[in-house]
Amino acid sequence: MGKETIRLENLSIGYREKNHTKLVAGPIDASINSGELTCLLGANGVGKSTLLRTLSLFLPKLEGKIFLLGKEISEYTEKQLATVVGVVLTDKCEIRNMSAEDLVGMGRSPYTGFWGSLGKKDREIVRESIEMVNITHLAGRMVHTLSDGERQKVMIAKALAQQTPVIFLDEPTAFLDFPSKVEIMQLLHGLTRRTGKTVFLSTHDLELALQIADKIWLMDKTHGFSVGTPEDLALSGTLSGFFARKGIVFDKETGLFRIEGEYARRISLAGHNVRYAMVRKALQRNGILAGRSVESDWLIEITRDEFVFRRKRPGERIGGPDSPVLTPEDLSASSGPEKEIRVTTIERLLEVIGSTVCYSGPCR
């Protein structure tokens, strides 16, 4: 993995006002590596933006040290910092009458001369930056005619044109539709691999971050500050501790979060593949816990082209392979249709189950 480019030592962040300081978070000890995508996660108001603003020197730090490429950040002049850190902010740039290409060209400002005119080499870099984020077709468009996602890509191209080893992005995926979110995250991840840049971003898109990020920084008021790969954080239970609350559970199997309501009913499932997963998902949404090892008198068999809903027969197991075998006495208590019902769509299946009073029996 990459070299350490940013190191925070005992860093406290917050706001210094006339007669008091407001501590937002800290002390933080952590580091960010080059060639990695690091995502900063945390609830609203926990200090993600404050941390990013402090790291990019927009805000003075309260205490501690920030080392950037081995040098304390306060030793950089504004001009030097402009060639080390590039930012993409949440500010919506409301520039009219400027083409995307010109905006990307502004990223060259730290290198251009007195009038800010681009030289041949600058234009070459601008063109490469635009190609890197795949927006060549947008280059000539006016910035104010672009969509939010397109503009975000232009700003990322600007940061690339700035040719900084470090790029900070404040919620680059906010306000974007899902495919654009994925596209931006993959783009950034790809950049870290291709260019060896250090990319650090804050986001609320937990699922995406857990899947794409190399490292996760978790900020939380009660649990403090944790750092690690998404997988390590999942294994150690840190992730579930951070985000688990009523209605959200951390699914250790997938390493992702799942919305979970309260279950009123249980149904066993038999089957596999996508069809199994989809039936399970649809039932969970309707307050029915369903799965291979779920204990129930009722069963949905999932075949290649049908869903068969029926009462279990004596001799079948109540739940998973190790669960007890059902006896006729067990089954006499629950009521419902005696015949099996075969349907082809999940919509129809839900209707059938909804009209079945299976839960009047012992829904174990």
């Binding site: 504004e78 740039c93 009458n97 400027m98 010109d102 007195f114 009038w115």
Partner: protein, 344 residues
């Protein structure tokens, strides 16, 4: 779509020459074009009256309008960029109000002291200029000072507007205690005019703007960065506080000088930058600064021409003309812009 910048710029420059020549040619005394040209090129065999009219009245007026229009427009452009507000202009920061206050002190207080300025002639004129510059520069110094303390641009803008209100209140009090002739003199100053600057002072005025305007061009890269907003500009290595101070100071001094010599000329500073953005379809200050300079000069000359049109005989105040011409132009430009945006 990019516009042919050089062609457009050339057209604007040509329009300046046309309007300037018309300014010299037209007036209450009709001078044939041939004779006017000969006088311009230094021929002395034309009637002395014509020579006097052209050299002592029309050329100074033309030069004043040219310099004032350019100065105000460039200043307005800088204000709009630094405050990121399309309604910002030289008058919003209270800088012109400051000039008015200075002038009000001189014109109106002098009558309380027993020496009516309206009867003092040349010395009075100098006093007016000095007072206007002193008034606007002191307001500007205040704003620059505040700009170092205040973070947000909107806050600063509001403070500027408030300072303007205070200045106007002071003027109101002064008016209340003044004699009628002085109030009239003050009101006339307030209407603005390109013909007030006389012989010797014109040289000083034109020189001042000719020095100040190129200096503002040094801020072009700064202004372009400011377009991106504070965050991005800072990240690209711009010292926001210092740049903001420089831009406000530069545009403030320009307004101060123009207001001192011509009175508070409204609207040009607000309208011309919008016009330039629409004409050149750009927000690049490398284009907009010279564009504002040229278009501003051209507009001021055109307005002066209308103010002197036959029938008005110089009776129309320039301020009325700038607003009467400027407002419809800006509105039509905005309407057209909306349409092209919808079409895109």
């Amino acid at each position: 779509m990019k516009r042919p910048v050089f062609l457009l710029m050339a057209c604007v420059v040509v329009s300046i020459f046309v309007f300037a020549f018309l300014n010299i040619l037209l007036g209450s005394v009709s001078i044939p074009a041939g004779a006017a040209l000969k006088i311009l090129f230094g021929s002395a065999d034309q009637p002395q009256v014509w020579q006097n009219i052209i050299w002592k009245s029309r050329i100074p007026q033309t030069l004043t309008a040219l310099a004032a229009g350019a100065g105000l427009s460039v200043s307005g452009l800088m204000m709009q960029t630094v405050f990121r507000n399309p309604l910002a202009g030289p008058s919003v920061l209270g800088i012109s109000s400051g000039a008015s206050m200075g002038v009000a002190f001189v014109i109106l207080l002098s009558s309380i002291g027993g020496h009516a300025l309206s009867k003092m002639g040349f010395a009075g004129e100098i006093a007016l200029t000095v007072a206007a510059i002193a008034g606007s520069l002191s307001v500007m110094a205040l704003i620059v000072f505040v700009s170092q303390k205040v973070r947000g641009n909107v806050t600063l803008l509001i403070i500027g507007v408030m300072i303007g209100y205070v200045a106007n209140a002071v003027i109101g009090v002064l008016k209340f205690f003044s004699v009628e002739e002085d109030i009239r003199a003050y009101v006339i100053w307030g209407l603005g005019s390109f013909s007030r600057v006389s012989g010797d002072q014109i040289v000083l005025f034109v020189c001042l703007t000719a020095i100040l305007l190129p200096l503002t061009f040094l801020l072009i890269k700064t202004l372009n960065l400011m377009l991106l907003g504070d965050g991005y500009a800072r990240n690209l290595g711009l010292n926001i506080k210092r740049s903001r101070m420089l831009v406000i100071a530069a545009s403030g001094v320009l307004v101060a000088v123009v207001t001192a010599y011509c009175g508070p000329i409204t609207f040009l500073g607000l309208a011309v930058p919008h016009l330039c953005r629409a004409i050149f379809r750009s927000s690049d200050h490398r284009i907009l600064m010279p564009a504002s300079l040229f278009v501003g000069a051209s507009m001021a000359l055109a307005c002066n021409l209308v103010a002197r049109a036959p029938g008005f005989e110089g009776a129309l105040p320039v301020n009325a003309v700038t607003s009467l011409i400027g407002a419809p132009v800006v509105v039509s430009v905005l309407f057209r812009k909306r349409k092209t945006e919808l079409a895109e």
